[in-house]
């Protein structure tokens, strides 16, 4: 294998690929990135056996071939080479080491045989559809914060993607950690009808989001029962799915909440942020006191003092007090995108529904706290 290519192209694709490679591995080859040169292109591949990232970039290939080199080391070297450098990679005839040359810098990297590199991309992907990059980003953005980090309920460690028929056929994403739930949906893309409901793991969700930042306009999504694949630009990300059953989340979304609070989103978020300054502990509650036309937020911390803020609001039901985890409130408030937040409440012990006014695409359910 012998080739020459431009540093910036190699760096950009390595920055995608090396991220999925774990720094510590019990299987040595999993620390490596697979390089395959042929037909004027260099293909890079990294995997952690759950996710596989493949990217292909143009290169001047003198001799085709393939090998694997330590991913993080390779990335660090390329990163430190000067901008605009021409990098040549050369795997000697004995295939014992890969020589990297750029200007007057020379490196020799140990290699492992490319035949041993695991392959995740095999298998059939019966469902295939195109989705707009921005739409996919929105779908994920609005839900990923609610993914559970607690490992025993593994089926909550991801976003549940599935097709539903609510106001027409929809592609819906749901995430919950058992305290709150986030749901976001968009019109079902063509070709996605009949897709299986799948749980996309947290790490994959993070990787996709990063890819979407410099993706082309559309992303191709392929699905099977066990895997999902995203294809955009020259990058292909294949990931295993979480093998589990997502809970019947529909039951926890309240439908009969009759008290409605409408409030300016920005001033609400700023007020929650301000009053929660006084609480130092994790999970400190903020009390919402609702009465005619106003909302009073209160936080009490016996060690440091109290904070109160009154916010103008549209509320006409009977007055009530309800407590929430201030962090959860802030996270939801920052997901809302319209100017006005809409709360639908029932009582201080029941789930509360939070929506963007005038945008039914995303909804949030939050459980109150008892103080």
């Amino acid at each position: 294998m012998r080739l020459t290519l431009e540093r910036s192209a190699l760096l950009k694709s390595l920055s995608h690929v090396h991220r999925v490679v774990e720094r510590r591995n019990t299987i040595p080859i999993l620390s490596n990135v697979l390089l395959r040169a042929s037909n004027g292109r260099l293909e890079l591949k990294g995997t952690d056996l759950e996710i596989e990232m493949v990217e292909s970039i143009p290169a001047e290939v003198a001799t085709p071939g393939a090998t694997t080199v330590p991913a993080h080391l390779f990335y660090d070297i390329v990163r430190k080479l000067p901008d605009g450098a021409q990098i040549s990679l050369d795997l000697g005839p004995d295939q014992a080491a890969m020589r990297l040359t750029a200007g007057r810098s020379r490196f020799q990297l140990q290699v492992l045989p490319q035949e041993d590199y695991p392959d995740l991309s095999a298998g059939d992907f019966p469902t295939r559809f195109m989705i707009g990059t921005l739409e996919l980003k929105k779908l994920i953005d609005k839900t990923q914060f609610a993914i559970s980090t607690e490992e025993t309920r593994y089926y909550l460690n991801g976003i549940y993607l599935h097709a539903v028929d609510s106001t027409g056929p929809m592609l819906r994403a749901v995430a919950t950690d058992g305290h709150r739930l986030a749901q976001s949906q968009l019109k079902l893309p063509e070709g996605a009808a009949g897709m299986p409901g799948v749980i996309v793991p947290r790490k994959t969700v993070g990787e996709i989001l990063r890819l979407l930042d410099d993706a082309s306009e559309e992303v191709e999504v392929e699905l099977s029962n066990a895997k999902i694949r995203f294809r955009t630009g020259g990058v292909v990300l294949t990931s295993k799915l979480i093998d589990g059953t997502f809970p019947d989340y529909g039951r926890v979304i309240p439908t009969g909440n009759d008290k409605t609070l409408e409030i300016d989103r920005a001033s609400f978020a700023a007020a929650v942020d301000r009053v929660s300054t006084i609480s130092s502990e994790r999970g400190r509650a903020v009390k919402l006191s609702l009465s005619d036309g106003k909302l009073v937020l209160t936080v009490t911390n016996p060690d440091s003092g109290t904070a109160t803020e009154e916010v103008e609001a549209d509320y006409s039901a009977e007055p009530m007090d309800i407590g929430f985890n201030s962090r959860y409130l802030l996270e939801i408030a920052s997901q809302l995108s319209s100017g006005t937040a809409l709360f639908r409440l029932a009582d201080p012990g029941a789930p509360t529904l939070i929506l963007d006014k005038g945008d039914e695409a995303a909804l949030y359910v939050l459980m109150p706290m008892r103080v």
Partner: protein, 587 residues
């Protein structure tokens, strides 16, 4: 197949399997006999790790010729005079030890009763009982066991190493010695020389004996515990948290003068120490329980190392309450920290060129630089700053701060000692206790679950947990029964965040049988508090002003358990003035 009664020799060998497990158990049985005979000195000689020779001589009442012949028969005993197993007042009562030993070894019993003109001896070899014959002995009884297990080769094969046998014998003798500080014990194990436990009576005898057993390290600074409840008395001597041990070997339990092992009661002792000890450390000490014989059953195990109590909850709460009280009382008012260890570290330099090199100047950036500076400025009297506010106040157990070294340790002075305080550890405990008090006072906020968690348990565990749901709720966990063998968690402590509730509930269920408190939940909450305390406290490396140091010392004096940080490390050590004087050869 014909059913027949086993020959007596075989019966005895079978019984020996339970009673005489290893050389240490022979030592235990024979020494207990000596104590039951009213001995005031017991001499124990061991040869070949107890397999070649065990000889135990006492100065007890001795036996007549007839008694001697009976003693080696099974279920023959001088004890249990009222024939009432509910009223056992001696160490032994089963009448199994001598015949069992005789069944597996060469046993010679020599004894003289006051009514006999001379001593008598009887020999049992592999179960064959000889005739009593006249012998020479002035008083008491001497038992000689040779070639232990020669008659049961299988048992002989499964003996542990000589070293561990000798250690086990030492441990047995220690335990028996703890029970009877008035009796003089000597133990000769051949290679290791002689251990002597001097006989003492009166106040402090028990403490002196315990110090002999624990050794200089832990035995010097023990806290007395005295508690009584419903006819049960607890007298204990416990080591301070700083003197803890990595094993439970140095925990001794006496029940009515009988050395026993009881994991639950040792657990109670550990629980009483709570977070003053690190997770893997164990308290040291001696617990002695006195209760009416009817309140307990010692006939549980042939070797009588276990007992059962009629009301274990009472005993447990007595131990936990008594020990907690003693620890709290001790607080910081008394000398803490093992000064022996401090002294060891402080041994003066005797080497030639080690120590201080004059070539490299060391710049000391003392926290008192300002004060020192002030000394120079004394020529301008008006500019002299006031000395540290409580510098010469003698009333404080931790004294007045004099300096900070390495930006980590506070040196304080009391009228009769030097105190070194680890500022981070000390402040961490203070912040932790404050957080705990706050949480306890205002209750623990609960997050209602959007998706309640169903946990499957054993039906009995589920029931036991639900019976405690009110207590759990006060710690922020709301559970409800969910059909047989399952519970559903509705609300969880908000402090724990997104946590593994299933594991939490299972841990609680495991504990609920053993403990009368649900510690698992508390522990987890306090662990979170402890992490917060760690972040919220003054770190090592931070320079403190004299006022700050004194404030810290004053606060330590009013904080419970301030002598250890919440990870169980000591927060301060004390070096007595006398010990300093010793270091310099003034005493």
């Amino acid at each position: 197949m014909v059913v027949r009664l086993l020959p007596e020799i075989l019966q005895n060998q079978i019984a020996a399997g339970e009673v005489v497990e290893r050389p240490a158990s022979v030592v235990k049985e024979l020494t207990e006999n000596a104590l039951d005979a009213g001995a005031s000195t017991v001499e124990i000689v061991i040869g070949g790790a107890g397999l070649d020779l065990i000889r135990i001589a006492d100065d007890g009442s001795g036996m007549t010729r007839e008694d001697l012949a009976l003693a080696v028969l099974r279920h023959a005993t001088s004890k249990l005079p009222g024939n009432d197993l509910m009223d056992v007042r001696t160490l032994g009562f089963r009448g199994e030890a001598l015949p069992s030993i005789g069944a597996v070894a060469r046993l010679t019993l020599t004894s003289r009763h006051a009514s006999e003109p001379h001593a008598w001896a009887i020999t049992v070899e592999g179960g064959r009982v000889g005739e009593p014959r006249p012998a020479a002995l002035t008083r008491g009884t001497r038992v000689e066991v040779r070639d232990l297990f020669y008659a049961t080769p299988a048992r002989l094969k499964f003996q542990k190493s000589a070293r561990s046998e000798v250690a086990a014998i030492g441990e047995i003798v220690e335990r028996l010695a703890l029970a009877r500080p008035d009796v003089r014990f000597t133990l000769q194990t051949g290679d290791k020389g002689e251990r002597v436990f001097a006989g003492r009576t009166g106040d402090g005898a028990g403490a002196a004996r315990l110090a002999e057993v624990l050794g200089a390290n832990a035995g010097t600074d023990l806290l007395p515990v005295n508690a009584e409840k419903d006819g049960v008395r607890l007298e204990a001597l416990i080591g301070r948290p700083q003197a803890s041990s990595g094993t439970v070997r140095d925990q001794h339990l006496l029940v009515n003068g009988r050395a026993v092992k009881d994991r639950q009661l040792m657990g109670a002792l550990r629980a009483a120490f709570g977070d003053t000890l690190a997770r893997d450390r164990h308290p040291v000490g001696l617990l002695s329980l006195t209760l009416p014989p009817q309140e307990l059953d010692v006939n549980v195990h042939p070797a009588k190392t276990e007992v059962r109590f009629r009301d274990p909850g009472l005993i447990r709460s007595l131990i936990v309450g008594g020990v907690r009280q003693a620890l709290a009382d001790a607080g910081v008012s008394a000398v803490s920290g093992s000064s022996a260890a401090v002294l060891d570290a402080l041994r003066p330099h005797t080497g030639g060129s080690t120590g201080f090199s004059t070539a490299t100047p060391v710049s000391f950036n003392s926290g008192f630089a300002e004060a020192r500076q002030a000394a120079f400025e004394a020529f301008a009297p008006a500019a002299r700053p006031a000395p540290a506010p409580v510098a010469d106040d003698d009333d404080h157990p931790l004294g007045a701060a004099r300096a900070q070294i390495h930006a980590t340790y506070i040196i304080a002075e009391t009228p009769d000692a030097l105190v070194v305080v680890d500022q981070h550890a000390a402040h961490e405990r203070i912040v932790y206790e404050r957080l705990k008090r706050g949480l306890e006072a205002r209750g623990i906020a609960r997050q209602i679950l959007l998706i309640p968690e169903v946990v499957h348990l054993k039906p009995s565990d589920a029931e036991a947990l639900c019976a405690r749901s009110a207590e759990l709720e006060s710690f922020g966990l709301v559970i409800e029964p969910f059909g047989p063998g399952a519970i559903v968690v509705r609300e969880s402590p908000a402090m724990l965040g997104d946590t593994d509730l299933k594991q939490l509930v299972q841990d609680l269920a495991d504990e609920v049988g053993d403990w009368d408190r649900t510690r698992g939940l508390e522990e987890r909450l306090w662990a979170v508090a402890s992490r917060m305390a760690c972040h919220g406290s003054v770190r090592a490396g931070r320079k403190l002003k004299p006022e700050e140091m004194n404030a810290l010392l004053r606060e330590m004096e009013t904080t419970p358990d301030a002598s250890t940080c919440n990870h169980g490390r000591p927060t301060y050590v004390v070096l007595g003035k006398g010990e300093i004087e010793k270091l310099f050869g003034r005493r």
